[in-house]
């Protein structure tokens, strides 16, 4: 971890140094006791909910969301492939939408909720198994980016047809050429989800 990066500072009141367990507690205190709002917030402090876990992070203005998720939080499912918005490999789901984490500045993501392939796997989403069963990976470098893109699709359209799947995944590059397997894997996952739902 770099010297210029530190975890959440203690929730100390800037006026009276009272300590609080949560940031929200501190906020309520400042409003109630010191009658001031907004609460002064350290430059670069952001709050992210990643795969259901809340993180408070101090980020430099130039850091991308990829850097924060991959390098700082250690979630290796976010992969840089093209390095500039051309491949979809660094896709994460932010507030329900697939976005490119290499093209997003972390500092603009305060308060956002993010999902990565790791979270999708931990939640036992059927996409993971259907991807494995259909050999929807070769070198595997692009695979988590497809998984997140496909998950975002299934979230908003639980029964996509083949062409909708292909349109949704068209922005993801795979040099190994695993393309024909993706629609099959996503369709299977959609079927499994439906079965699970109707149980």
């Amino acid at each position: 971890m770099n010297a210029d990066f530190q975890q959440t500072p203690n929730n100390l009141c800037p006026y009276c140094s009272a300590a609080f367990e949560t940031f929200d507690g501190l906020k309520a205190h400042v409003v109630a006791v010191h009658k001031t709002e907004p609460l002064p917030k350290p430059d670069g402090l952001i709050q992210l909910t990643v795969n259901g876990q809340s993180h408070k992070l101090l980020v430099a203005p130039e850091w991308t969301l990829y850097q924060v998720i991959h390098d700082k939080l250690g979630l290796t499912g976010v992969k840089m492939f093209c390095d500039r918005g051309a491949c979809g490999s660094c896709t994460v789901i932010m507030d329900g939408r697939p976005i490119l984490s290499c093209m997003t500045l972390a500092i603009e993501c305060d308060g956002k909720t993010i999902e990565t392939a790791e979270g999708i796997a931990e939640a036992g989403h059927p996409l993971i198994d259907s991807y494995v069963n259909h050999h929807t990976m070769q070198c595997g470098y692009c695979t988590p980016g497809f998984i997140t893109t496909a998950k975002a699709l299934l979230d908003r359209n639980p029964e996509p047809n083949e062409s909708e799947i292909m349109q949704a995944l068209a922005g993801n590059l795979c040099r190994c050429g695993t393309y024909p397997q993706h629609p099959k894997a996503v369709l299977e996952a959609a079927r499994t989800l439906k079965e699970e739902h109707s149980k």
Binding site: H70, T76, K79, C87, A117, H135, M137, G140, C142, Y179
Partner: protein, 808 residues
């Protein structure tokens, strides 16, 4: 006559050397050849847990960046790193004139000695191959200085503070002008840009003059191919960490063993002090299999030296633009003369091939190896241009496929014959006809089959060749586009070769480990090794594991190149499993109080053959067979472990080692050409391969459809564009260097047949390289069949189609 008794070493060597036709199946296939075997790497890769070199972050790790040349050819007159050195966060600066590196050249290692023969790779041919030089010979070359800093951003900012005074020098980009007397010479004072390559300058078989005299039809034509490159997913990366005199490395390479060997030789670090990790590899396609290039040997040396200087771990990752540091070995222009009799028998082929920066292969080799054409002559010339080095790119056979496909398509067209018939008529081996192959099959116990005939028949049926193929430029579709079809064929990928070693260990709980380093580039190799060990050892697939990320285990499997991944390693793990099985049965004999021959293993259980109810799980047999244990009440036994080594053929020496290629493939394509826009729309691709034996059917198919996308992209869209005025490569990114997306081309139809004729284990052949190599050249004939005009200038982009049609 008494046979000389072999010592232990010679026995191992003899057991490990490939012998033709000896690999007849000895076990029932349960896992081998089965569909639905769970992929070893599937969950890790889908869930993002799989680690790649680029993912490695160590405590205290620094990030390195290297200066690259902004000019196609220039010399540094002055390099001022003073400001950069003082920049906060900069921890080490390594200049080209640093005593640790001064003048040190990239080095290589294959071909007999630990030194790479100079003709073995593109980098070795270049006039400048200093790791960090003050002389640039192509735009983007790593030059001058490398900097390690606390963050990547700081390293990049520090590089901007480096002041360089450049002397720009004249450069040459066009290979066809490189030999002109007034062309700037890459080597100052040299009188030519020609690269001497004696081995490849002339290939001759028979007498072409005689062949042309016998011909009833003679054609001549010229074809061109432009550069493209690997463009793999994971960027070139390395992490180096010193601990005293011990060096720990994380490398993104196909051949970590070779890179360790090179590093040891180059920096004088004993090999036993280098501990190398090779994690998952984000693609390679040969890109990460030239351990001697700037992108591998170069960055490894820089990271190691910077780590030493800073006394901190150093990570060096090239960025996407910097990854355009080389290209395929088929930047070429070819002149052909082909003679044939009216019945389709080709009597002579003469070709002149001009290559830039490296001649991977001559271009004529497939005509030698795959055909009975008696008279061949190929002259090859290689020239220097101010572009990066060229080398193999899935795969080095591209020039050979290019030449064979075009020769056959042009001559079939001139004779007015169906190209599939011309292929079958000229099929053979090194100038000999099919009876040679039939005799060979008989003598070596192979099934007598003609797999080219079988592949062609299957492919024709699948694509509807007999109903749809037509003379060039004669079929317009209702949508206004012109319809075209084409076909090509080869036998080349029965040329497996390579050396590997591995051990099989039965753990104390009965689970089984395959022990060896291996680099995975995505071809699902480990699943196949586990399938083989399961069947050969008699244990459940689920009980087997491989953890091949560490070279320190001492064993290393053959790198995934030369189509010899499984071709060599299948033998290695098979032999190791059989040897471990012998050990296990020897131990079990004691427990059963029976001779080992009376026992068998199935489903992870040892049983008496004559009385299958007398059985014991493997885990109980090995209960006390441990590598170590502290005081216990009963005696321990040694662990059940054995290892094997295998070497498989020599590259390019098929006939010398008595190994003609016997497995064939045929590729068919159907296109529609829009004559208004020049767009070539691919509507169908049918790949048919005789794979000998498919160990993992899904993996075979994966290589076939995956290779199709790469092949089509290379034929139609992928090209590297240099600015003629500045020598700068203009499309160093994946927006402008276009390769296939899901929507660009249809999924191919993939058919494989299994004749068991291959030289690989269980009669298998390579499948990873061929489709991507076969498809590109096929587009020329397909577009010709559609529009009736030849565009022998690849890639076939819309502007070339419109030009051929006279529209621009």
């Amino acid at each position: 006559m008494t046979e000389k008794k072999l010592g232990p070493y010679q026995t191992l060597k003899q057991e490990g050397t490939y012998k033709i036709g000896y690999d007849k199946p000895t076990v029932d296939f349960k896992q081998i050849g089965k569909r639905g075997v769970r992929r070893y790497d599937g969950f890790e890769k889908a869930s993002g847990k799989a680690l790649y070199t680029r993912d490695v972050n160590l405590p205290g790790m620094l990030y390195a960046k290297v200066l690259s040349s902004p000019y196609a050819r220039a010399r540094m007159l002055r390099l001022d790193t003073g400001k950069a050195e003082k920049y906060p966060g900069v921890r080490a600066v390594l200049r080209y004139d640093d005593p640790a590196i001064n003048g040190q050249e990239l080095t290589g290692s294959i071909a007999g000695t630990t030194r790479m023969a100079p003709e073995s790779a593109g980098w070795a041919m270049l006039p400048v191959k200093t790791i960090l030089s003050d002389q640039a010979i192509f735009e983007g070359q790593m030059v001058g200085v490398a900097i390690a800093a606390d963050t990547e951003q700081i390293a990049s900012e520090a590089l901007k503070l480096v002041k360089v005074e450049w002397e720009e020098q004249p450069f040459i980009l066009d290979k066809e002008k490189a030999l002109d007397s007034d062309a700037p010479k890459l080597i100052s004072g040299a009188d030519s840009n020609k690269i001497a390559d004696e081995d490849r300058e002339l290939t001759e078989q028979g007498d072409v003059e005689k062949g042309f005299q016998e011909a009833e039809e003679i054609i001549e034509f010229t074809a061109r191919r432009d550069a493209h490159l690997w463009a793999g997913a994971e960027l070139p990366s390395v992490v180096a960490r010193w601990s005293g005199d011990k060096l720990e490395m994380w490398v993104h390479e196909q051949q970590p063993y070779l890179s360790k060997l090179i590093l040891a030789e180059q920096l004088n670090i004993p090999m036993n002090k280098i501990h190398t990790h090779s994690l998952y590899q984000g693609c390679s396609f040969g890109e990460r299999c030239n351990p001697s290039n700037w992108s591998q040997n170069g960055i490894n040396v820089l990271a190691v030296l910077l780590a030493k200087k800073a006394d901190r771990p150093v990570k060096l990752v090239l960025n996407r633009a910097e990854k355009f540091y080389g290209f395929s070995g088929d930047l070429m222009v070819s002149q052909f003369k082909v003679g044939a009799r009216r019945d389709g028998t080709i009597t002579a082929v003469q070709m002149n091939n001009l290559f830039a920066n490296y001649m991977c292969t001559t271009g004529v080799e497939h005509l030698v190896e795959n055909t009975k054409i008696p008279n061949l002559r190929c002259e090859g010339t290689t020239v220097f241009v101010n572009k990066p080095p060229a080398w193999w790119n899935r795969c080095e056979q591209l020039p050979n496929v290019f030449c064979q496909t075009l020769v056959f398509d042009h001559i079939a067209d001139a004779l007015g014959m169906d190209p599939t018939e011309v292929a079958l008529l000229n099929d053979g081996c090194e100038g000999r006809d099919k009876s040679y192959l039939e005799d060979f099959q008989r003598e070596n116990g192979f099934e007598p089959r003609d797999s080219l005939k079988e592949c062609i028949a299957a492919g024709k049926k699948a694509i509807g060749w007999d109903e749809n193929w037509h003379p060039p430029g004669t079929r317009q579709l209702p949508n206004g586009r012109m319809h075209g079809m084409a076909f090509t064929w080869s036998h080349d990928w029965d040329d497996t070769r390579g050396t590997g070693s591995a051990a099989v260990l039965i753990q104390n709980d009965g689970s089984v480990s395959i022990i060896a380093q291996h680099s995975d580039v995505g071809v699902n190799p480990w699943t196949t090794y586990m399938q083989i060990v399961a069947d050969e050892l008699g244990v459940r697939y689920e009980d087997i594991e491989i953890n091949p990320f560490d070279l320190n285990v001492g064993f290393a499997l053959m790198s995934p190149d030369g189509s010899c991944n499984l071709g060599s390693n299948g033998y290695v793990v098979k032999k190791a499993a059989r040897k471990a099985r012998r050990m296990l049965l020897d131990l079990a004999a004691d427990k059963f109080d029976l001779p080992a021959e009376a026992l068998d293993i199935e489903d992870s259980t040892v049983f008496e053959k004559a009385n299958p109810d007398n059985r014991m799980p493997v885990k109980d047999v090995v209960k006390m067979a441990v590598p170590m244990l502290n005081a216990v009440g009963i005696w321990t036994e040694p662990p059940v472990l054995d290892w094997a080594w295998h070497t498989q053929g020599l590259w390019g020496m098929a006939l010398e080692t008595g190994r003609p290629r016997m497995c064939r493939q045929a590729n068919f394509i159907e296109v529609e050409v829009d004559t208004e826009t020049g767009e070539v729309c691919v509507t169908r691709v049918v790949n048919v391969n005789d794979v000998g034996k498919a160990i993992s059917p899904e993996t075979v198919e994966g290589q076939m459809y995956g290779g199709t996308y790469m092949g089509l992209g290379r034929a139609l869209a992928e090209e590297m564009v240099w600015d003629p005025a500045t020598g700068v490569l203009l499309n160093r990114n994946l927006l402008d260097y276009k390769y296939a997306t899901m929507l660009d081309y249809p999924a191919s139809d993939n058919i494989y047949i299994e004749t068991g004729l291959g030289h690989g284990p269980y009669g298998s052949t390579g499948i990873g390289e061929n489709t991507a190599t076969m498809i590109p050249a096929l587009l020329g004939p397909a577009v010709y069949n559609a529009i009736g005009k030849r565009i022998d200038d690849f890639p076939i982009t819309p502007n070339k189609v419109l030009k051929a049609l006279g529209k621009i």
